[in-house]
């Protein structure tokens, strides 16, 4: 962020307000999580830029680029280049969509599927590292509140 991770809202007016700004807190913590993920993923030789794509594909192999991008809220051009990069890294391949000649299906290669199996461990590790200061009930609470803020339906394992 710069790595626009660097970014924005680290701020507001005085010291006090700055520290309590929701946007400020979100940005700062998100950047830190991103940096930590980058480090952890480097250990297993995965580019953080491709990580998200790998995770989605491991769950839903053979979707179109459009769908992949949609699930990640990425613009099309970005998805297009991400898939290029996945292919360059030997992690995925494009195949024609039997249902439409203008869309493309993306599949993980064996190598890609193998890499993908290593990812949940990393996510789990980083998430619990960041949530460590919270009590168990607070962990549940913050995830619930974030879901509410994001308008994202809940469900699933809060440990991840």
């Amino acid at each position: 962020m710069i790595e626009s991770r660097y970014l924005m809202a680290k701020i507001s007016a005085g010291q006090k307000q700055r520290q309590s700004s929701f946007g400020f807190l979100m940005q700062v913590i998100a950047r830190r999580i991103d940096a930590t993920m980058k480090e952890e993923l480097a250990k297993i030789d995965v580019d953080v830029k491709l990580f998200a794509n790998l995770m989605v594909l491991s769950d839903r192999d053979g979707i179109t680029q459009k769908e992949l991008g949609h699930l990640l809220e990425f613009p099309d051009y970005f998805t297009s280049r991400n898939v290029d990069a996945l292919i360059d890294a030997g992690l995925a391949e494009r195949r024609p969509d039997p249902n439409s000649r203008r869309s493309v299906l993306v599949f993980l290669t064996d190598k890609g599927r193998k890499k993908a199996t290593e990812l949940p461990r990393v996510i789990q590790k980083v998430n619990s590292q960041f949530l460590e200061p919270l009590k168990s009930s607070e962990k549940k609470a913050i995830i619930q509140l974030l879901h509410k803020v994001g308008g994202i339906p809940e469900g699933g394992d809060p440990n991840l």
Copy 2:
């Protein structure tokens, strides 16, 4: 962020886990906040990239570039270019540091100071927009929890 804001943790394993990943939620919401800030700041003709710098300078005018970068956790080269951009926009100026010929002090111009006064309103607006789905008690709770996660001491006005 993509604007390495686009990035990372949108993820985990299955659909269920993905939706609950703390890192995933943080990244997605942080990116949305960033995009919204960008839009809102465009309305008052402020580049989101310079926004953070403006806020810090409005609070602590006349600091060195080094200090400015440190407060924002930005690398030196980035601060250097940000100050260039602030100057190009007529919002700030460099002055020699009387205490050291190798460092530089950064001051807001009148125009810069004037712009800075418009920023808290925008921050306020975007924050409350994102927190809108929450009840008042929940707003307090999420900010408190984020402080705890970030290891950032609390204090200040939760509306900002």
